[in-house]
Symmetry: C2
Subunit: 412 residues, 2 copies
């Protein structure tokens, strides 16, 4: 199929700007957490667009919205979409860009090629960011893949205190029925998302085909020593956990740097106790976020960090211990769909590269029940999770064009 | 003078335990901030002891208590003492040990040798720790040396909100008259204090003669970079202030370690912004406490740290800036009094060493108007500013004996 697909760029721009009104925050920001009034309004607007594109629409048990074009040959569905919730505040593109691209891609395909053989669905997932309920992350895709455990609806509590089950009831959902969101009839899930990194901009490209999504493990590391007077205790007799932590942080960051792309290690959070300038601390706690898309190298990265931290602690007479705050296995995208998306981009004349995803995505959850793949569109300055995030209408439209061409290969 | 001086060890123990009742905190702690009811009670008890030892007593304009034995030949006074306030909580020894030793030394001298030629005074300084008013540090010795500036009584505000002038009025002091505490008739000030470090214990010695007190400069260092996604932003494109701060902290601490005693550098306080595990921070702020008793080496230590931090920031594409939170010049003890205290210890058969003080002390203020010297007594495990601080009655008594012998040389 080398037929050019024409995306209505004005419609792409309209959808971006219209959705940005729901939870608008300042000039360009969006603050739209799951089950909030803004979220309800956004899903209602999306439902209207789905219906006007000829889709049948239903809301699942956790509030994700599904628009469906029945295929002439039936079988499992080909699904595209992403999440409708935002950071607090986030920008206009993270998540919704994939819903907009999915709706416009399917609408364009139906207009240009008629009814597909395979059933095509667009999903507006209810939640991904854990921005209202810190442990709710991937609520929409976890519901679909059976990843919500009994009791989760009561133990998932918002930063401000209420449970997600209360919030669900407020928007007319029954938290006892989350299992009804489970799907076993999805063949493939293709998610378009903003890159959230600087690589496409650096290379001057609008689009990337994603071959794998990073595995992530976040440690909370605690280094303990002996608190002492900052003046009266000589350096050679100290067990200073700040000295140990600084060496560990330098070591972990420089290991990832030395390994090169796509390995990343980040220390974003740190605290000391008692946290007084004139007292050698007795405890330093820091987070250690590590990502790699290759399962074997990822394991080696963790082992390297752990051995390094143990060596430093032993040499300095410190105690080190850690807990694992979050862990997601890396996700290999389906090689056949990856190849097909690359071909689609080439046929449409859209310049692209292939990369791995540093951020985690709903696709990682969906991979439990379906073949997955992703497309990235360029992020200005690599920014995301901020009102400053930006993707041009041109790049969004080129990404939508590749998505449509890929869906055409799968469904027609 | 090789006459043995006999210190009443039971009295040393009684004074330690009696004073510890005022502001008793838990089993062995003391919480006695300046101008509190506990502080009033401690000063009242000390006043009684001074009077019973035959001293004339007066309270100066900021509430420091002076006990005086008039010398037969008049002239400037020989003064000993320390501060009566504590950390919150602190222990039973920091500060008051020097008041107790001073009272018992002078009492013992008068009992054993009669009226001195030179006037002897014992001072119970009102405040040193800045534990109630963060900017009040050395309130007592600053008042004596003219270090309280006009307006300080109104701008010195407690952690909880009130001004020091209100607190002074509550204990019957007139904040407008702080200048009346200024003294210009002090020849020498000798302060006995707990070591607050581990060196005497390590060497198995009860007492040290202090030859110099560290200069201190505390920086608040701010390292700024660019906040980015912990997954999607490759290591080689980051401007990560945590990576820079960790390298600076390691560098500063290892420089002081490499220089060896008595150089010390401590990072006791640190924070990151926005302080999320999955976000490369855009700002890391840490304290950098640096001490050295030698004015030239101290300057070189600061210059070494500053050059190192600038180099790291420039190499990593970060901004670094700092403010100086506190600065005290090093204080050289009077060489003649140091030599005389060493001789006194030898004559009394008290094993001792000579060292510099890592902590800051009232003696540094007093050095502006008088010759100063200090004696240290052993601290168990080098602990201080904690209820766990401990000095044995034996070591306290041996220190008091050396102090008495030194005062004898100066005043008889």
């Amino acid at each position: 199929m080398a037929t050019q697909i024409t995306i209505d760029r004005a419609l792409v721009e309209k959808y971006i700007l219209d959705l940005a009104r729901h939870g608008a925050h300042g000039e360009t920001g969006v603050w739209r957490t799951v089950y909030s009034p803004e979220w309800v309004a956004a899903q209602a607007e999306i439902e209207g667009w789905m219906r006007s594109a000829g889709m049948t629409v239903h809301r699942d048990a956790v509030g994700s919205l599904w628009g469906r074009i029945e295929g002439t040959e039936g079988g499992k569905s080909i699904v595209t979409g992403s999440h409708v919730d935002s950071q607090r505040p986030g920008g206009r593109y993270d998540g919704v860009m994939g819903i907009i691209a999915g709706m416009i891609a399917v609408k364009t395909l139906v207009e240009q090629f008629g009814t597909p053989k395979r059933t095509l669905e667009v999903v507006s997932l209810c939640e991904e960011e854990s921005s209202r309920f810190p442990t709710a992350g991937f609520w929409g895709s976890r519901a679909i893949t059976g990843g919500i455990k009994p009791g989760d609806v009561d133990t998932t509590i918002e930063w401000e205190g209420g449970s997600i089950s209360d919030a669900m009831r407020e928007v007319g959902l029954d938290p006892a029925q989350t299992d009804e969101a489970i799907r076993d009839d999805i063949e493939a899930f293709i998610e378009l998302h903003i890159e959230q990194g600087p690589l496409l901009e650096q290379q001057g490209l609008p689009v990337a085909v994603v071959s794998a999504i990073n595995g992530i493990r976040t440690y909370i590391v605690e280094v303990s020593g002996v608190s002492n007077h900052a003046g009266a205790f000589p350096m050679d007799m100290r067990s200073d956990p700040m000295a140990g932590a600084a060496e560990m942080i330098s070591g972990a960051i420089s290991t990832a740097h030395r390994w090169g792309r796509p390995a990343v290690t980040t220390v974003g959070r740190i605290s000391a106790e008692p946290n007084y300038p004139a007292i050698v601390p007795d405890r330093v706690v820091f987070s250690l976020d590590n990502r790699h898309p290759d399962p074997v190298k990822r394991k080696l990265l963790y082992e390297t960090h752990e051995a390094m931290m143990k060596e430093i602690a032993a040499r300095r007479g410190l105690e080190v211990s850690w807990t694992i705050r979050s862990e997601h296995a890396p996700c290999q995208c389906d090689p056949e769909i990856v190849r097909m998306l690359q071909e689609a981009a080439r046929e449409q004349g859209v310049p692209f590269t292939t990369m791995t995803s540093g951020a985690v995505h709903d696709s990682q959850q969906m991979a439990k029940i379906a073949k997955v793949a992703m497309l990235f569109v360029q992020s200005k300055d690599g920014r995301s999770h901020t009102p400053a995030e930006f993707t041009s209408v041109e790049h969004a439209s080129l990404g939508t064009q590749v998505l449509a061409a890929g869906l055409h290969k799968l469904a027609y």
